[in-house]
């Protein structure tokens, strides 16, 4: 009877049987199957929820309402795809100056995760939080679905016809067409742009970076005759002095720099020396938190200090000294140290003032750092935009001197100070085209919106550093009717061609002949594609020209009095382009631990004097901003992040925070990211709620992050960790400790290598389907991140020392949480994992209370498919990012770090099928894989040769709250500072 019923039900729905509709449906479903694995999956998950409630009812009334699942095989199975197995494709991320080589994990035709590409010497296996989150940009509902003109859909052929016509008209009457793009690092694209410029006389190309390296470029032009950024090799450095350059967070190539920086600070393999890092900055940046010595200074004070440092070093090296602005800061010790480490130092500045950069170049030159730690062999090409050009274009636009504007990847209406006027000017243009992939303020005012595909959907080649070529390949067929900008440009030049073919021909003509390994272009191409990279090593040494120094010193600005507002890129949002990415919005700022807002970081003293609390409101130059009292904020300054306050970013990003770009000024031909002489006014009794995910900043003297200075460490390897002996002495047990026969998974975290960048949190979020919960819930302290980075301040509140500590489930062998679950939802596995069976959990939350580390997360609401949480998990498109190997948790269950058990299982399966043992390092957790600092090591503690076992035997190793005898499987290596 049963099967009869069921088969009837399958035919019951008369709609499905209307032939036409049935065919349509079949077509759609087959499409869905290829692209959206999760849409059906989620509806079934609801079943769990309903199960208990309507037990009898469903069983009797609708006992046969079992949802019929279809299984649709491939018609013709692609060779490389095995259902249920992931494919990995090498590709490259480049946006807004951030370059990163990546490997894209594709499951059943859908990219679901970004991993670092180990074969790339630039980013190595590291990524940044923004790169990790870029996978979600692909599935962003704010993406344009097809070309449109004045908000109506239009076909590509019509576009080509119309645009070409207008462009020709303009060219005919010698009008001015401007292609405004962000820095283009694609050699092929550059060729195409050139082709375009050639076919339309009067057309010009301007590269514009919202947060530019203009000062460096101009200074290097003057000092070295090359408008480029040199290659900083932090791994070779012994002393690093950074003037407000957040090189571990946002400055130029942070992933690469983090790799080098942490490599120079590692002590886990018997190293006896490490890099010393000085940071002079106003707001406490991520880099500042990692500095050994940090000086809070005002932005306007910086020039004076740079000059003083130059003079001190020049004095030491017998060079010429210059007069200029004075400073009260004594830099003699710093200069001495740099002089002592000649050829092993790096001095950098984030200033966009070319004069400051010229002095910095002078310092590095005097110290002999060029050729040692700062190389010109492969200059960094990721930021090429000159602020002066954009400034000129801005003026021309307002003056009506431009006829056509093609905007590609930039958003001047949002990030230029006079955005509103610019918008009006653009609307008046004869032709305005935006190639925006997703909604933005500039596209909003353009006539044509010709969406380009996401980087995961298209071919590209990149040259992030001179001579280092990278390839990006499509990992999914285009979700929307988009077209590469390059193809549009080619079409408008009258030589339509696919961009992929174009790249291939460029590679065939330019790169293939330069190598000798492969005798066949096809092999060369496949090899490059597989690796994602091809290197054409160059060597260059440029001659230094100090002629400009005296002039530069004279032009330096004096320290100003009055309050200054520092504008900086936040770690999560950068310049704000991807403000519609809920993962990034929810990533707590590494320093303030605030998500979903920008805020005014206020010095502690100022707050005390004015009676400010966190979440108070101040009015800065008339703009109301919420207050966060930031220890380490330089006196007389406040800092506010850029990239917020988008008005046309999409439903997630709109109206989050305030747009601070209007305050970006101009000085010496570069954009100046601070505001002088700001007026500040306390708004009495006003409260603006901030989503703080950590509210207590002191360790209260507890041995949580254990640290020592290098000299102590050199004397005694367990410096700072002495208490461990004490704890081990008291470690007794009534019960015998459990044996783990096979594996015993463990993880070691080197606190010396963790910079706190937050990459792991997003990587974990992508891997483990961690849900976004929104500002209100984050504020309610319900953030879902499985790995959180605890940040503690210690010492002087005006200039604190900072410790970052990633905390995830410690997988204790004597886990207090396991013991208290009444329903046996969280027992211990035979491999030492603290397991969490979501389907068994009834949500008593007892385990949350009994976890001394508070790493368990509760699903307070249904976060998936709930209009109240209208983020990526509330629509089919956004849910495509879900990892099919990890359960999407329903409301009312507890979840936590599983040490990426799906990855463990996958690799074990591979080994078992192959009949071999697992190699150490074969399994990498998501947080580990892309950690730019290589701070996380995962492995088998039962294998004495594994890296994690070795680290566990390291004298620096300790376990968090070891005195509770929880026997964690996660160990931490003490943090060693290198204070003078």
């Amino acid at each position: 009877m049963k099967s009869y019923w069921r088969s009837l039900k399958e035919l019951e729905d008369p709609k499905a049987l209307r032939i036409q509709e049935a065919r349509e449906e079949a077509k759609q479903k087959s499409l869905l199957h290829k692209t959206k694995g999760s849409s059906t999956a989620n509806s079934r998950r609801d079943f769990l929820k309903t199960l208990g409630f309507s037990l009898a009812a469903t069983s009797l009334v609708a006992s046969c309402k079992r949802p019929v699942e279809k299984a649709i095989p491939y018609l013709v199975k692609p060779e490389e795809i095995t259902p249920g197995k992931a494919n990995y494709y090498a590709s490259a991320y480049y946006d807004a100056g951030d370059y990163c080589s990546v490997v894209v994990k594709v499951r059943d035709g859908r990219p679901i995760k970004i991993e670092g590409n180990e074969l790339c010497p630039i980013s190595q296996s590291g990524t940044s939080a923004r790169v990790q989150a870029s996978i979600l940009n692909l599935y962003d509902g704010a993406r344009y679905q097809g070309p449109q003109q004045a908000a109506t859909t239009i076909s590509w052929s019509d576009v080509d016809a119309e645009v070409t016509k207008i462009l020709k008209e303009i060219a005919a009457r010698a009008g001015r067409t401007v292609l405004l793009s962000q820095t283009v690092i694609s050699p092929s694209s550059k060729k195409i742009i050139q082709q375009f410029l050639d076919s339309y006389p009067g057309a010009e190309w301007i590269q514009y970076d919202a947060v530019s390296a203009s000062g460096i470029l101009v200074a290097n032009q003057k000092s070295f005759g090359q408008r480029a950024i040199p290659d900083y090799r932090f791994e070779k450095a012994r002393v690093v002095v950074s003037f407000a350059a957040d090189f571990l967070g946002t400055w130029l190539s942070p992933v690469e720099y983090t790799k080098g920086y942490t490599a120079a600070r590692k002590l886990d393999d018997g190293q006896r020396e490490m890099l010393r890092h000085y940071q002079l900055e106003s707001q406490l940046s991520l880099t500042g938190t990692n500095a050994d010595v940090r000086f809070p200074v005002k932005p306007s004070e910086e020039a004076g200090i740079v000059l003083a440092l130059y003079n001190a070093i020049a004095a030491g090296r017998g060079g010429e000294q210059f007069s200029g602005p004075q400073t009260a800061v004594d830099v003699s010790a710093l200069a001495d140290e740099l002089l002592a480490a000649r050829g092993k130092g790096i001095v950098i500045s984030a200033s966009n003032d070319e004069n400051v950069q010229l002095l910095i170049n002078g310092i590095n030159q005097l110290l002999g750092n060029y050729g040692e730690t700062i190389l010109w062999d492969s200059a960094l090409l990721t930021k090429q935009g000159l602020d002066s050009e954009m400034e000129q274009l801005n003026k021309d636009l307002l003056a009506g001197k431009v006829d056509a504007l093609l905007v590609w990847g930039v958003n001047p209406v949002y990030d230029q100070a006079n955005g509103a006027e610019l918008a009006q000017a653009i609307q008046k243009l004869k032709l305005s085209v935006s190639f925006a992939e997703r909604k933005d303020e500039t596209a909003q005012v353009c006539q044509y919106i010709l969406p380009e595909p996401n980087y995961l959907e298209s071919w590209n080649d990149l040259e992030p550093k001179a001579g280092q070529y990278r390839m990006a390949q499509p990992t999914i067929s285009r979700l929307f009717d988009s077209r590469n900008v390059q193809e549009s440009l080619l079409a408008w030049c009258g030589s339509p061609q696919s961009y992929g073919d174009f790249i291939k021909s460029v590679w065939e003509q330019e790169h293939y002949p330069k190598q000798s390994t492969y005798s066949d272009f096809r092999l060369f191409w496949n090899y490059s594609l597989q690796k994602g990279a091809w290197e054409d090593p160059r060597s260059a040494s440029l001659t230094y020209n100090d002629a400009w120094l005296a002039e530069a010193a004279g032009k330096l600005t004096n320290t100003k009095s009055g309050l200054e507002v520092v504008l900086y890129e936040s770690i999560a949002l950068g310049n704000g382009k991807y403000a519609n990415n809920p993962w990034l919005q929810e990533l707590p700022d590494p320093v303030a631990k605030i998500s979903w807002d920008n805020y005014a970081s206020v010095p502690v003293d100022y707050a005390e004097e004015n009676g400010l609390q966190n979440e108070s409101v101040i009015k800065v130059n008339g703009m109301e901003l919420p207050v966060f009292i930031q220890p380490g904020q330089a006196p007389d300054t406040i800092a506010v992040a850029l990239g917020y306050g988008r008005s046309h970013a999409g439903k997630v990003g709109d109206g989050v925070g305030k747009n601070l770009y209007p305050w970006v000024g101009e000085a010496n031909g570069g954009r100046q990211f601070y505001l002088e002489k700001a007026t500040i006014e306390v708004v009495p009794d006003a409260i603006y709620e901030l989503a703080l995910s950590q509210t207590h900043h002191s360790m209260e003297g507890r041995p949580i992050v254990r640290e020592a200075n290098l000299d102590e460490y050199l004397l005694k390897a367990n410096a700072g960790n002495e208490i461990r002996q004490e704890h081990l002495k008291h470690s007794v047990t009534l019960y015998e400790e459990m044996d783990f026969n096979g594996h015993h998974w463990g993880m070691a975290i080197d606190l010396n290598s963790c910079t706190g960048c937050g990459n792991c949190a997003i990587s974990c979020q992508a891997e483990n389907n961690v849900q976004v919960i929104g500002k209100e819930q984050v504020r309610n302290r319900r953030i879902m991140h499985w790995i959180r980075i605890d940040r503690y301040f210690s010492g002087d509140p005006a200039n604190p020392e900072v410790s970052h500590q990633p905390v995830m489930c410690q997988h204790c062998d004597n886990a207090p949480c396991e013991n208290v679950c009444p329903v046996a939802a969280t027992p211990h596995s035979a491999e030492g994992l603290n397991q969490m069976a979501y389907n068994r959990c009834v949500g008593t939350k007892y385990c949350i209370n009994n976890c001394p580390y508070r790493v368990r997360r509760f699903n307070w609401f249904q976060y998936v498919n709930n209009d109240r949480f209208d983020y990526n998990a509330n629509n089919d498109l956004g849910r495509m990012v879900l990892n099919p190997d990890v359960t999407v948790r329903s409301r009312g269950v507890v979840e936590k770090c599983s040490m990426c058990v799906q990855r463990i299982q996958e690799k074990k399966q591979e080994a078992k099928v192959a009949g071999r043992m697992l190699h150490d390092g074969e399994i990498k957790t998501a947080c580990q894989q892309s950690c730019p600092g290589d701070a996380i090591v995962f492995g088998d503690l039962n294998n004495p040769q594994s890296r994690v076992s070795k680290l566990f035997r390291n004298e620096r190793n300790y376990h968090l709250l070891e005195e509770l005898h929880t026997l964690p499987s996660v160990g931490y290596l003490t943090k060693i500072r290198n204070k003078a």
Binding site: M1, K2, S3, Y4, W5, S7, E10, L11, P14, L17, R18, I19, R23, A26, K27, S30, R45, F47, S54, A56, A57, T58, S59, L60, S63, R66, E69, K70, A71, P73, Y74, L75, K77, T82, P83, G84, K85, D739, N741, G742, S829, L833, M836, A837, Y838, N839, R840, D885, V886, T887, V888, S898, V901, K908, Q909, A914, G915, R916, M917, D940
Partner: protein
């Protein structure tokens, strides 16, 4: 829950009726009572109509130029009710209206309807009177029909393709029995507490307990069944027989399900894999050309076949074929049953967690053979010493939560 409500409603009605009786109201059905009755009737209808959603929409209209008359005539002809003097077997004797649980190799009326819905009458007629395949020729041999009848049949089939088959009324026996017992419970309770009509109190007590027991049993069974589907054997869009392929022709399971050894999913063969053989084999021994033609059709029209999925694990369960087939070298039949004997594929195991777990308790690991298990030094030592007879799957953690739930 719903049943509880329903019982309550019934209880209310009975109470009201008794009240009405006591109060000697002229009418049994007082307004309040009528409301209850209406409500309960509505609910009852709602349940019944669940399955019997009448597809009246198609009936009233004239479809594709066929009059209702034609359609009805066609239906009766198909079912052998017309003409009365027709000597041969009726269509329905070979062609079921719908596919049913026992495998009838001949295409069902529904399948034919769908196939011929877009084609003209001549091709339909040809398929009956001048069939191409050997089997069809044999079976249809000697059929001679009036053109008028055939047209009516075609009209009937076209209509069926448009509106779907007349739903067969579902059996609601179990539901009725359940409700009946619900009423019994109500009665027994009332009797025990208020009426006290029956002398032997044990009778209503027994009735009460028995009814409660029955309801409990049904609820329990149905609740367990809710997530289960042992024996599930739906009709597939193509009458694919594992018996013929794996049994009679002895094709290895892993020829078609070739990813079973190294992927989580065993894989459903792509259509082009079917075509490896069916490029030559165009007529089956049982179904003639009709079923195989569907594959060809799918490949030609680039329209993948939508199989009905049998083995559905809940989403929180992650099962890997690779571990079980590739590493543990289990036979497919261990879990899927005697597939080589199944014409119509059915779910053999109940796929309950207990089923998995108990198998893990009993199954030996290929401990010596597989190099992976060198990791388990302790267990190898114990095996060598003889302290351990065999390593079961559960000894290496196969029954840990996070082997399947993550």
């Amino acid at each position: 829950m719903f049943v509880l409500v329903f019982n309550l409603v019934i209880c209310q009605i009975t109470k009201d009726i008794t009240k009405a009786k006591r109060m000697k109201r002229p009418t049994l059905v007082n307004p309040k009572c009528r409301l209850y009755l209406l409500a309960s009737l509505f609910i009852f209808l709602f349940i019944c109509s669940n399955a019997a959603r009448v597809s009246a929409s198609g009936e009233s209209s004239v479809v594709d130029g066929h009059s209702l008359e034609d359609i009805r005539r066609g239906e009766r002809f198909f079912k052998g009710l017309l003409p009365f003097n027709f000597k041969g077997e009726s269509c329905v004797s070979c062609h079921n209206i719908l596919s049913s649980d026992s495998l009838n190799w001949n295409p069902s009326a529904m399948a034919i309807a769908i196939k011929y819905a877009g084609r003209d009458f001549e091709s339909f007629k040809a398929s009956i009177e001048q069939p191409v395949g050997a089997m069809l020729s044999q079976k249809h041999a000697g059929i001679a029909l009036e053109e008028e009848d055939l047209k009516a049949v075609k009209a009937y089939l076209d209509n069926m393709a448009m509106v779907g088959p007349q739903p067969v009324k579902p059996s609601i026996n179990q539901l009725l029995i359940f409700l009946f017992f619900g009423m019994l419970i109500t009665w027994a309770l009332l009797e025990l507490i208020f009426f006290r009509k029956i002398k032997y109190r044990i009778i209503p007590l027994i009735v009460l307990l028995a009814s409660l027991g029955y309801q409990g049993k049904v609820i329990n069974e149905e609740a367990i069944k809710l997530g289960r589907s042992q024996g599930y054997a739906p009709d597939q869009p193509i009458k694919f027989s594992h018996k013929i392929h794996a049994g009679d022709n002895g094709i290895d399971c892993k020829y078609c399900h070739h990813t079973a050894e190294d992927s989580k999913s065993a894989g459903i063969p792509a259509m082009n894999l079917c075509m490896n053989c069916h490029v030559i084999v165009r007529e089956g021994s049982q179904s003639g050309k009709f079923e195989i033609a569907k594959i060809v059709d799918a490949v030609d029209n680039k329209k993948p076949v939508e199989w009905i999925r049998l083995h559905n694990l809940p989403d929180h369960v992650f099962f890997s074929h690779a571990i079980h087939v590739g590493s543990a070298k289990l036979d497919c039949q261990t879990c899927h049953g005697p597939v080589e004997e199944m014409d119509l594929m059915r779910q053999h195991a109940d796929l309950s967690m207990g089923w998995c777990v108990n198998c893990h308790r009993e199954t030996d690991v290929k401990f010596q053979e597989n190099g992976y298990y060198q990791t388990f030094k302790n267990l190898h030592d114990q095996l060598d010493k003889g302290d351990l007879q065999a390593v079961k799957a559960q000894d290496i953690g196969a029954n840990d939560c996070m082997r399947c739930h993550y």
